[in-house]
């Protein structure tokens, strides 16, 4: 049906007004969100800086001793924000003090064994901070990870992957960290990375994603009736494997779907922040997960008072500015 000229003009004007109004609202909303993320970035950064310990490190909790995992994440987050700020320099000195004689990194000052997880995180931090300046140190750490042994295998988990510590079993989480660390340090140790990838691929949970190791719980072997129960995948481990897989093997849709299905039930900043970084690494919309993370950090004072979770939250929020140090550009 033809609309009379004057009516058509009126209709167009109304339509344009409506569109303009909608656009304005969307822009306002978007601006508001950006402002909100910026505020969160400042809040998390300030908290981390204010809770740096005298030795330059950070603990999981406020006023704890410095420990590798929270400390290295705090440093990584500060470097991602601005590597020239003063706390970073002191932090790097502390990080270097935790390097063990074998090239790996200890979890804390009086630790007895190098940790693949701590070493991988140290490599990521140094690679982000100044890879050229710290090349020899990075090379030592890389060599440790490439050769690290003493992890036990089983009949179904027989790959030459990594464990939490010497004397423990190979496990998905430290293996994912080791792969990310080696790739950030440009390792050419292709064989071991491939073994770890086989380990990931062979131990995927039935419903997608990954748990600590073998995805089936079995009971005692002497039992006449053997129970084999699929284990629940863990969000943070799945996110880590997704990041380790970037540009290497293609994750399945169900790996991402697990996170989409579970994130809004999680109260764990580690799981949520790593999921944001993983989704961002694959160019997927991570804002709903990020909003969930910010929401629980705002509501839960217990979480808000932990440098470790502030660091993870800062890293996750920095993805809104296009910054993601765990994105492995290939």
């Amino acid at each position: 049906m033809l609309i009379p000229h004057n009516k058509k003009t009126a209709f167009c004007l109304v339509l344009l007004t409506f569109v303009a109004f909608a656009l304005q609202k969307i822009q306002l909303f978007a601006t508001k969100k950006v402002v909100q993320y910026s505020c969160m970035i400042d809040k998390y950064r300030d908290f981390i800086i204010n809770n740096q310990l005298l030795d330059g490190g950070f603990g999981y909790y406020k006023k704890d001793s410095s420990l590798a995992e929270p400390g290295f994440y705090c440093l990584l987050a500060l470097i991602a924000f601005d590597k020239t700020i003063r706390p970073v320099e002191a932090g790097i000195k502390w990080l270097l003090s935790l390097q063990n004689n074998d090239g790996g990194w200890l979890l804390f000052k009086d630790d007895n064994l190098s940790s693949p997880l701590a070493t991988a995180l140290a490599l990521i931090v140094l690679a982000e901070y100044n890879a050229d300046k710290y090349k020899p140190i990075i090379n030592d750490g890389k060599a440790y990870l490439e050769k690290a042994n003493g992890f036990h295998t089983t009949k179904t988990m027989s790959q030459n992957a990594w464990g939490w510590n010497k004397g423990g079993f190979i496990s998905i989480e430290p293996s994912a960290y080791a792969v990310i660390g080696l790739r950030k340090a440009h390792s050419t140790e292709e064989k071991r990375i491939k073994e770890a990838e086989q380990f990931f691929l062979q131990n995927r949970c039935e419903s997608g994603g990954w748990t600590y190791g073998y995805p089936i719980d079995t009971n005692h072997p002497d039992s006449k009736k053997v129970y084999s129960i699929p284990l629940t995948p863990q969000i943070h481990i799945t996110a880590l494997v997704l990041m380790a897989a970037q540009g290497r093997f293609k994750p399945l849709d169900k790996d991402f779907e697990l996170i989409i299905r579970e994130y809004d039930k999680s109260y764990c900043p580690l799981s949520l922040a790593l999921s944001v970084l993983a989704f961002n690494s694959y160019g997927q919309d991570a804002r709903p997960i990020l909003n969930r993370l910010n929401e629980i950090m705002l509501k839960d004072d217990y979480l808000a008072q932990m440098p470790f979770y502030n660091a993870l939250s800062l890293l996750a929020n920095l993805t809104t500015k296009g910054i993601n140090p765990l994105c492995l550009k290939t």
Binding site: W164, N165, G213, Y214, Y267
Partner: protein, 336 residues
């Protein structure tokens, strides 16, 4: 994750030979005339308290029995260690019920103690999610009680006095070491490798995952029974409150079935509490390997982890409460 550790566990299972060697060592200690620690002279007391439902005021039910332990903890830091190993839905009784934890907070709080609740969850890194879904988060907020995730605590290297694992040292969370009094508050469950899991096994959950892996896999490799004993010799719990209102039978500790018992077991001798709790589910504790070893003197300088001779049971009788919890085939021998 823990499949195929069976050969390892079989290899590391404490055997009759170990038992005989320990006895020989102990006898040698006697002959040498060293300072043999004074074995418990008095009988241990264990309270069995009928608790029909979690919805009741459990503190009021437990208090008359609890007060008989005459604890003097005014001004002391008391650490409550529930079992928060994982969460599989509110209708699955794999974790310590918040009603039992609430009663413990109130009972020890009334003694004038400062309460801390702590756990290093064995199957979840994100214990915060478990705290929310078990409603323990809300409980702790309401009482202003501090929670410490022991997986993230500062640690200290501590020599293992028994050293059955041959690890020599444990890295123990400082919150544990700085506490004056440790209360193990497990869920009463059968266990697919150990037979039963009670207050001594619950102490597995103080060990930090960042050092021992998830699910504490380094300790599994070192031998679960040996680890349980070494952990308890290194950090002895002072008191046990075993949540047996609902427990888990069959393929516990995670995938078994709910089983109603309607009881709480308390003692200032956690080993004695475990012995009595085992009898309540018609398990012979003397056949549970790690409990058997916990009851003997490991060497001339280490007293047993508790006193199981002539345990004085008060409150309700074993016979008035007991009922068989289903056991996996390989643990049927525990019934006799």
């Amino acid at each position: 994750m823990l499949e195929n550790l069976d050969d390892q566990n079989k290899r590391l299972r404490l055997t009759r030979r170990d038992f005989l060697m320990l006895s020989a060592g102990l006898a040698a200690g006697y002959f040498i005339g060293s300072n043999l620690p004074v074995l418990f002279q008095e009988s241990s007391k264990v309270a069995i308290v009928k608790v029909n439902q979690y919805s009741l005021n459990i503190k009021d039910i437990l208090k008359p029995y609890f007060s008989q332990f005459n604890l003097n903890l005014k001004g002391k830091q008391v650490l409550l260690k529930p079992n928060l190993v994982d969460f599989h839905g509110e209708d699955k009784h794999i974790t310590t019920n918040p009603a039992i934890l609430k009663a413990a907070i109130e009972l020890f709080g009334e003694l004038g103690a400062t309460i801390i609740v702590a756990e290093a969850s064995g199957l979840r890194r994100d214990v915060n999610t478990i705290l929310y879904y078990t409603h323990i988060k809300q409980l702790l907020r309401g009482y202003g009680v501090k929670f410490v995730d022991l997986n993230m605590d500062d640690v200290e290297k501590v020599k293992i006095p028994s050293n059955l694992t041959k690890l020599d040292y444990f890295y123990i969370p400082k919150t544990i070491l700085n506490s004056d009094y440790i209360v193990s508050i497990p869920k009463l469950k059968t266990h697919h490798w150990m037979g039963v899991t009670l207050s001594l096994k619950n102490m597995f959950g103080i060990m930090p995952g960042i050092k021992y892996g998830w699910p504490k896999n380094k300790l599994h490799y070192a031998g679960v029974e040996r680890s349980i004993l070494d952990i308890n010799y290194t950090v002895r719990p002072d008191f046990a409150i075993i949540d047996g209102v609902y427990g888990i039978e069959g393929n516990g500790p995670i995938f078994g079935d709910n089983k109603y018992l309607g009881a709480v077991v308390m003692s200032n001798d956690p080993l004695a509490a475990d012995f009595i709790a085992a009898r309540l589910i018609e398990v012979n504790p003397e056949k549970v390997n790690y409990l058997k070893f916990a009851a003997v003197q490991l060497n001339y300088s280490l007293a047993p982890l508790g006193n199981i001779k002539n345990i004085k049971v008060f409150g309700n009788s074993i016979n008035s409460i007991k009922q068989p919890f289903r056991l996996l085939d390989e643990f049927k021998y525990l019934r006799s």
